[in-house]
Amino acid sequence: MTHHRPNPSGAGANAPSLTESVIKTAIAWRIRLESGLARPSDEQACRHWRDADPAHELAWQRLGKLDSVFHDAAGKAPALARTTLHRTDEERRRLSRRQALCVITGSALGLSSLGWLATDQGVLQHLDADYATRTGERHQYILQDRSRVWLNTDSAIKVRFNDGERHVHLSRGEIHLHTDTDARPLQVHFPQGSLTTLGTRFLVRREQDHTLLQVIEGDVMVRPRLTGAPAQVKSGQVFRVSDTGLTAVDGRRFDYSAWVEGIFSVRNMPLAELLAELSRYRTGILRCDPSLQTFLASGVYQLNDTGLALEAMARSANAEVRYFTRWWAEIVPVQNA
């Protein structure tokens, strides 16, 4: 695979070409002087070689200039730089193996899959999940019992129904489930426990260390994994479920199930939290200036254009959106020149 790349040194195509032997000799000199084995006379001899021909000196200077890229990075955060490069390489190696698979299975270029593989860490979960969405996608599915399940962005579920039971495993993300009364109880499983219901409408959302549950209609029984004692959650209530119990959440600040309608509705929510919510729907990083983090935002935004939502949020805080790259945006105070 050949890449057409911008010239990273800024050296134009008309920069003079040096012969390979000059470049290799310059490299050999650098290595000799860096190796820790150089004799004092080596320094002198290297100087002599550089002076012998302008091409030698040019090669030497260019190598020095390339080194400065690394020195600059080392001057800022060497460990961060090293770890980033290392992880990036590892991830790309995994990726190219899958790309090879794409080619075998006949996909034209493997580009579309590359695009989402690159943004999605839960790739393997897609394979064994029965239903899944990618970042930015929302989708409704009708299950075999006619229940309707909405999957929010970057979510995955496994559905296992049999004659006596209905099981849904939330592998990733968030679902909104509307189930009709059925003789078989429906169970939803998540890392901190499970819930059981007969017929109702509710939302389950996985977080880092807990799962959020909002019941919209009817009621459900929740069993935290460690205590096992069932607790009832009724319509209108929002709870945070941990391994050991339930904690009530104020559901007025953020409308947890508005995404089903394609909107995003908040009342007096700190901007930093709002951005964390919005960033679930897009690739990349959203941040805000420290001075704006606690700004309380209110509003209703459309989820199908997160860029527009971001602009609106910024405006409400008297700020603006600054894009560093396509995937990295920050809300910063308006800069008056």
């Binding site: 800022k76 990349g284 990083i285």
Partner: protein, 174 residues
């Protein structure tokens, strides 16, 4: 760039004839309409940098598709770097994070380093980064990686040549 009018007219004609096609081609292969538009734009910018315009429809479309495909792959590769960087950065305690200006500059430096070292074997890259980022002497690198001093020298030479070629031209003149 001189204002050669026939060349300019050729470009406009190519743009008019193939832009919509290229966007559709990209839409089928990448995710998101925005991205397809942007990639198509970047592809035509590359065309402007070329000394000669490709002739004939098949030829032009083949060139556009190949260039756009390479750009999309590069973009996906850069995105992986950026995502890893931001994830690691935000995981650092506040007092250990570089200043906001440095955060941005460091990402740009990393993108450059990434390009310069692209294609090296993992051990070669590791050796070179231990020297250049951590400032370790060759002897220490050999100890830590359990390799000989002459291997360190060999890998350093390979990495320096790679950087040189990436920065100053595909192949040095012989």
């Amino acid at each position: 760039m001189d204002g050669d009018t026939s060349e300019q007219a050729g470009f406009s004609k190519l743009y008019q004839e193939h832009h919509a096609w290229l966007v559709r081609w990209l839409l089928k292969r990448t995710r998101g309409a925005d991205n397809a538009q942007d990639l198509a734009h970047d592809t035509f910018m590359r065309l402007l940098d070329r000394p000669m315009l490709p002739n004939g429809i098949r030829n032009a479309r083949a060139w556009l598709a190949k260039t756009a495909g390479n750009l999309a792959v590069d973009q996906a590769r850069r995105q992986i770097l950026e995502r890893n960087y931001l994830a690691l950065l935000t995981a650092l305690p506040e007092q250990e994070q570089p200043s906001p200006e440095d955060q941005w500059e460091l990402l740009q430096l990393l993108e450059r380093i990434d390009t310069l070292l692209d294609g090296l074997r993992p051990i070669e890259k590791k050796t070179f980064l231990m020297s250049r980022l951590d400032g370790l002497p060759y002897r220490k690198i050999a100890e830590q990686l359990g390799i000989s001093l002459s291997s360190v020298e060999k890998y350093m030479a390979k990495a320096m040549l790679k950087c040189y070629i990436a920065a100053y031209g595909e192949r040095p003149a012989l």
